[in-house]
Amino acid sequence: MSNIIIILAIFGWAILTYIAFRLNKTLGNIFVGLIAVALPVYYFTYVPEDYSFQVMGLTLQFGFTSFSSLFAILVVILGALTLLYSIPYMNKKDRLGWFYLNFLFSIGGMLGILMSKDFVSLFIFWEIMTWSSYLIVIFSGKKVNKVGVKYMVYSAIGAYAMLMAIVLINKWSGTTNISHFFETFADYSNGAKILSSLLLLTAFAVKSALMPLHVWAPNAYTNSPMSYTSLFSGALSKMGIYGMALVAIMLYTNTGMKFFGEALAWLGAITAVLATFWAVFQTDIRKLLAYSSIGQLGYIAVGLGIGTELGVMAALFLALLHGLFKGILFMAAGAIEYRTGKTDFSELRGLIWKMPVTFFSALVAIIALAGMPPLSGLISKWLIYEALLSSEHYFLIILIFLSSTAAFLYCFHFLYGVFLGQREDDIEDVKEAPALMLVPMVLMSFGLLALGTFPGLIFKHISSSMSYLGFNDVTWEMSVLTNEWGNKIYLTHLNTMFMVVFAVFFVIITLVARKKTRRVGTKDIANAGEPILAEDNYHFSQDFYKPFWRVISPVMKYRIETFYNSFANGIGEFFQFFRRVYTGNGQTYALYVVIFLTILFIVGATLI
């Protein structure tokens, strides 16, 4: 019983929080803080217990598996941290009760998904998660139709694909139990296999923003408050990954339908490349991060698609890691937005002077995102490459590498455009973000640092959860990576080496001519002798990657979004035309009756 209670408690608490906010803002914030603390505490101390009951002749079953609890850790931690972050971030806004109601509902929905052992309850929680996140996407009240409805429509396409799969599975196997479906999958006919797995894949691909179905993501991520976007991109999109992992591994790898896995991997790789390219040319930090998220989710799809042990390992590790670093980055973007009210690169600059803690958290996250040592990003990248190498995916690895190299471009753009560059006077009033916003960022940065050297901390969980997916329970050493060919990386040596050399040279360079080393303002630059006046600013923010755009613009011209829009318009126009059936003339309606009667006669006489 205790399983379902956690969700009911969250839902109940959500309503209580709503009421509390209606009464008093401070009381509401206390309620939010309480759940943020209670959620991880309860999750990590309670004893899991399975539970099931009958609804409408269907059996709903609940219980964590070792696989889903991996994602639950992410949801719980990120959920708690984003809740904490939200308290100061959202404090100036109205309708806070409504916001937190939906916030908690989506956390509850996610945990519900993870503890669902049958498809119907999975779907129910999936939809709860979807509409609560939709309500937050439109929370700001801006672009509600353009962004919100679009999000809802794509989510609905995904969810309904899942629903179709569910009813078909229910028909074929007589039950909606997830593990039963996977166990009996091998006995299905080929058509059934392809149909059900395609549908499920579509469903999960929408949430994880895989390429042809990603259209909603950039705008939805941008439009919701940043404190929620951290969760949205960090944890909510991982629900798609969760489902995709189940489908990809259980179905394709275990039943020999490798083709689908390959297709998934290719889709993921194309997603990674194109989304990264798009991220490079964004001029809004939130959009940049949103596209970056799509790209990262593409990597995860690649890992799942190739379906080898290393690949799945990479995917799961990256899924967790992405939650951390994209959480930090969106929080940093939120902190910037909170303090300056701006999110466009053309309006931001030089914030490192005012928000150093935010900068260093973001720097840590960016290094992890880019996959550079000494942080944990390297491990995820390494795992993916090794997986691709050992499974001999020659061209996928090139695509992934292209994407991850291009990722440096937007990484630099983010750091430079926001934090570096020439200072402007208009940031003089800007202060460092409130402590409650910094704490989650810093905590997660430490997490990234720790995992960078000791990935074994989380490998233990991943590999035990992978045994649920049918892989051997391989024990990984705390800080040594080994690929399938026996090549190893000693992370401790690498990172210690780097740190030590860094420290040595830091001492040297700081001590040499120490007294004569001056710090000057960012307007004191070599500018052909021309002094920069107070009103001038030479910050480089326009056409940031213009040459690169010239190279790849032939590819980027074609956007799937245009096609979707014209398709949707076509439907609208078609029915607009069809509306003329209802002429408004009663006699015409009478004529329809007669015509219908005639047709019915003919049909009746011939068919019945």
């Binding site: 996959g371 040592p373 190498l389 001999e392 020659y394 090139i398 430079y416 360079i509 030479y538």
Partner: protein, 302 residues
């Protein structure tokens, strides 16, 4: 793992890399001068430059990131150097950390310096620096692709991801990989000038356009560190390439010979070429080099 031994051999390797790299860069200046019918500076000129820069009596920076940028780079270079086999004869002296990392890690390790550089350059507030960084990153997207294609072809074909493993393959079989995998070699070779950023790929520094680009605000000890790093990193790149494609070297003489021969390729190419524009450079790398890279991959697949 003996930490003291690592300290000793690591320092020796670093010094070796520094000296060799400096001399190579001096030679480049000399050769350039000779090609241009000049006498040219002495080949030890670069040592003098570095010494001068380190002995500057003042230096300025624009902030913490600029302060750490050069040492971020040099830390990267030295760390990378530790993971690269210098000799192939199994001598334990130059082993360092060779067997504790692999190529994928090296690929990423090698760009860490660029990130530090980019951040430092970004903090100076000089628009030329930022433009230079964007150019450099764009160019990197260009040349990394054929380079990685070549590496992937070799790694999959020989089922190892370590440099030492690839060296072993060459020592065992007695043929260099540049002969057994010619297409991959050509692809990687064409990517080399991009890595060295010599003309026609000197779009990052582009003195006439960007006033030396990212480093335009670096002077004194910072510039000195960067030049030191440049020497070490050149050695790193050359040795890595020699290890992978040209069978490594059994002693330092062969190492110098091979690396120098390799080094001459970007140098001599640079002497006769004007500068590309950024998009031209990327298009170049995504043209023939990628074509050869694909051929290399196909060869490896077959």
């Amino acid at each position: 793992m003996d930490i003291w031994k690592l300290l000793l051999t690591g320092s020796v390797t670093t010094v070796l890399a520094f000296v060799v790299g400096m001399l190579y860069m001096g030679l480049r200046r000399k050769i350039t001068a000779r090609v241009q019918n000049r006498v040219g500076p002495p080949i030890y000129q670069n040592f003098l430059d570095v010494m001068k820069l380190w002995s500057k009596k003042s230096s300025i920076n624009h902030g913490f990131m600029q302060h750490v940028a050069p040492l971020w780079m040099i830390a990267t270079s030295i760390t990378t150097l530790m993971f690269i086999p210098i000799l192939n004869n199994g001598s334990t002296f130059f082993t360092n950390l060779t067997f504790e990392g692999d190529l994928i890690m090296l690929l990423y390790l090698m760009v860490v310096g660029s990130l530090g550089m980019a951040l430092g350059a970004g903090q100076t507030g000089n628009p030329n620096s930022a433009i230079g960084v964007t150019r450099g990153l764009t160019q990197m997207v260009g040349f990394e692709i054929p380079w990685v294609m070549a590496l992937v072809a070799l790694m999959i074909q020989h089922r190892t991801t370590t440099v030492a493993g690839l060296l072993d393959v060459q020592v065992q079989s007695g043929t260099w990989l540049m002969l057994s995998s010619p297409f991959a070699f050509i692809a990687a070779l064409l990517a080399i000038p991009g890595m060295f950023r010599y003309s026609p790929f000197d779009i990052v520094g582009a003195p006439a356009e960007l006033a030396s680009g990212p480093i335009s605000e670096f002077g004194g000890k910072y510039l000195g560190t960067m030049m030191t790093n440049g020497a070490i990193f050149a050695f790193v790149k050359l040795t890595l390439f020699v290890d992978i494609f040209m069978g490594g070297a059994s002693n330092l003489g062969f190492l110098l010979l091979k690396t120098f021969a390799l080094y001459m390729f970007p140098v001599l190419w640079g002497l006769v070429s004007p500068r590309f524009r950024t998009e031209q450079a990327v298009r170049f790398f995504w043209g023939w080099p990628v074509f050869f890279g694909v051929l290399g991959l196909i060869q490896a697949a077959i």
